[in-house]
Amino acid sequence: MKWPNVSPSMQNEQPPEAIVLVRDLWMTFAGKRRDEQIHVLESVNIDVSPGEFVCMVGPSGCGKSTLLNIIGGFLTPTRGQVIVEGLPVTGPDRRRIFVFQENGVFPWLTVEQNIGFGLSRLALAERNNVIAHYVAMVGLHGFERSYPRELSGGMRQRVEIARALAANPDIIYMDEPFGALDFLTRLKMRADLIRIWQNEKKTVLFVTHDIEEAVQLADRVLVMSQRPATIRDVVNVDLPRPRDIDSREYLQTRDRIFQVMGMDIHTGIAKEPGSPPGPDSIDQRRKVGSDAATTGA
């Protein structure tokens, strides 16, 4: 790791092996009314090691998507710092590719044109090689010339993942990428994602509201609280892959996260008051936020 702006003596509390460092991050949105402020994030601290698969789970609308957008450089935090690969984040960067919740595949381009979107700097032959490699990796062989509208939702999400991988980023940020898919497709996409991650050795930050998904995927699960969100607990998932979702260890890990989030796994009843579910998109969060704020959170 390079630390161009940090003298060795200052590295004490920053593990030098961390690729993503979030330090004392706060985020406040302006509400509907002029004097209203919605506190979304409160003093969030995160360390991610290179090659690690980290999931962030939390209740819907808690701000985890906002957090990932700040780390990705799409939003500026109210306070605090995000340091990625040794440098403060000032905006999106082609070395860290975001996979969007609402699917950012370009509908006017074919599958192979989408996957090659970030490769315009490469020579044509090399570019075609890279495209072919990632088409095969995500299992879209035979659909190179298809347009996104001709594909199923799962296939479109594969195109976006392939487009992210083809750009050869160091880190991939994934914001509930499988949220809109049906149950079986989701299971298969998770298995494929793990297989690809094991091949590619990328660092992955993955936001989800699905605890099962987090435990199936992650090395480490960051459990977030209700808004204003903080990291409530960090759960290491030391289970071999592919993971047996019936094993005792798996179920224990899963139930522990449920407990941290204040839910009883068997009844679904919240053990703590004040956990209203809500939509999680950035656009809607402000609305939900102001509602919650007026009811006196």
Binding site: F74, G91, D93, G104, P107, W108, F117, E150, T185
Partner: protein, 279 residues
């Protein structure tokens, strides 16, 4: 690929953009060809009967109009005037596309520019192109430039408005993805904003071409002495030849239909078809 392809429907199953096969080929032939042809024949018969019953000596029967078109075609006037009208429409319309698309995209993208220019735009927009005819003659005289200018003005506003709306309604995820891949401003416009807005812009262009074809006729009635508009006003003024007046009207209608069909073909390209829902 691991596992089965159970959850991956083949693309033939998910082709939601194709029109469903509704009825048999015979049924389509009936509804798409024979039925409208029947309506047209009834219209022509009704027109013919109305002229005969009223005993008018001025208004032509359909057969007189057909003879009039044949006469115009024989003496070469028809082709010459069609070419003249199409030439003016092409010049004015293309100029409007070349100016309107970039201006609309920029006004849609830069909020400050939009706030600065939009009120002025909204004042100019409702002024009928016909109202500009005296000004056009003052500036350009009796020449091709006057109708070309009028057509340019008339088609400019639908294109600008469509382009502005297209940028403002664009899905933000495309812009964010593009920024993530490190595109420059120019690349962002060429590789993302233009293709993302093209379907809506094309709809504006289709409306603009319709307006342009309306305006060329009006402009030619006043500002020049050739073209289909001039044909109509000249046939009326020199000898009250209403068969030729209606012949000119029929040609305008037919050519307008052809122009619209041509622009509609553009909407079938894969680069824009995603933007038109399931039709």
């Amino acid at each position: 690929m691991m596992g089965s392809t159970l959850q991956e429907p083949s693309p033939t199953v998910t082709q939601t953009t194709q029109a469903p096969p509704r009825r048999s080929a015979d049924g389509i032939a009936w509804q798409k060809i024979l039925l409208p042809a029947g309506v047209a024949i009834v219209f022509l018969l009704g027109w013919d009967a109305a002229v005969r019953l009223s005993g008018t000596q001025i208004f032509p029967k359909p057969i007189d109009v057909a003879k009039g078109i044949a006469e115009l075609a024989r003496n070469g006037v028809l082709l010459k005037y069609i070419v003249a009208s199409l030439f003016r429409v092409t010049c004015g319309f293309l100029a409007a596309v070349l100016v309107g698309v970039p201006v609309g995209l920029l006004l849609g993208w830069f909020g400050t520019a939009f706030d600065a220019f939009n009120p002025m735009l909204q004042i100019f927009r409702p002024i009928s192109p016909i109202a500009w005819i005296p000004v056009a003659i003052l500036w350009f005289g009796v020449s091709d430039l006057a109708p070309i200018f009028l057509i340019f003005l008339a088609s400019l506003f639908p294109i600008i408005v469509a382009a502005i709306a297209a940028v403002q309604n664009m899905q933000q995820v495309y812009v964010r993805a593009a920024r993530n891949f490190g595109l420059s401003r120019v690349q962002l416009f060429r590789r993302v904003i233009l293709p993302a807005t093209l379907p809506q812009i094309l709809t504006g262009i289709r409306i603009a071409l319709g307006v342009a074809w309306l305006v060329v006729v009006a402009a030619e009635m006043i500002a020049v002495n050739s073209g289909l508009g001039y044909l109509i006003i000249d046939a009326r003024n020199a000898g009250r030849r209403y068969d030729l007046v209606v012949a000119g009207m029929v040609m305008i209608g037919v050519i307008g239909l052809i122009l619209d069909l041509l622009v509609r073909q553009l909407e079938k390209f894969d680069e824009v078809r995603w933007g038109y829902g399931t039709r």
